[in-house]
Amino acid sequence: MNRQDAVIAMVLGDAAASPELTAWLATEAGQRTLRAYQRTVAALGSAYGEVTMPDMTMVYYTSMATPIGRVFVAATEAGVTRISFRCSEAAFVAELRRRLGAVVIAESGERLQRAVSQLDAYFGGRRRAFDVAVDWRLATPFQRRVLTATRRVPAGRVVSYGDIAQRIGQPAASRAVGQALGRNPLPILIPCHRVLAGGGGLGGYTGGLDIKRKLLGIEGAEVAGVTSQPG
């Protein structure tokens, strides 16, 4: 190893200085060389020592065929975080990227097996409630209260926006409840389709009223004399 390399090895902590190098480092030239490399490594450290780092999340997704068309499901390690339909795979992935920030998105049927098999049984009429973990990161705190209350409405039953407003202790907030349900990140799993307008109308549904009707039909909900209202 030449002298320069030996000094670098010492500065980087790769090797201790030999007696010969130690002697040379005591000379003026040796001192100058050592200080130059120490300054170089320090300058490198101040430029590259700290870098900004977002907190990355791994998100897995898959899709499944259902009576309402292709349904996309995405989950983080914490639980299911987004369900969507009437969209393309590219649009679904783009939405995840836009709304979840720093994520790694990977297709994986295996990761979503539990949610998919439960959804499958639900669409086949063999299951009426879901037992999967949910990651609420796409819901605001208010929305989360609304969705949690909505989750308790059992299959086969329907309630009104006003009922949900009552249940979360904000009886005057029916309109806000409607908006929160309209942006439900987890449709079907959180059954916002079981929430109808006050006057007996179907109310709205982001996926389209035909799908709302279909889901209520699968559940055998008695929604007699339903008149669909847009909105």
Binding site: L12, A36, A43, S46, A47, M58, I105, A106
Partner: protein, 159 residues
Amino acid sequence: MRPTFDELFTRHRHEIFAYLMRLLGNEADAQDAAQEVWLRAYRAYARLTPQSNVRAWLYAIATRQGWNAMRRRRRKSAALVYVDGLPAPAGAAWEQQRRWREVVAVVSRLPPKQHAALMQRQFHGLRYDEIATGLGCTPAAARANVYQAIKRLRAALEE
């Protein structure tokens, strides 16, 4: 016991992102590259032999993706240096700011192997044999790449 992929991701996502920042110098490129790195790692992890050095394997994937991103960028804009993700010493003396720019300019023009080896050794504590795995060279050559990079940087800063 071999860690699950989730454990692997949780354990190494920060350092791999930081490494990509040190290669690419800006968050958007580092994020795109990180997406590719973890996607590839996810797909290949099951096939990795149990006695492999998982960390060195991840750095090898990250290095390849970092280089791909650099090549794509060079095709787009020849001599641009992207440094917005590195914390410029705000409020630092003018002399310090100038020094910082100099360092980044020299490092970002280093031959790719020197750049990668320097960052892995100096900020990520990889051993030369681990660096060698990712660069496809001998440990001695990995060390030579680091030393060459330091000599270049010293020469540029002393000018």
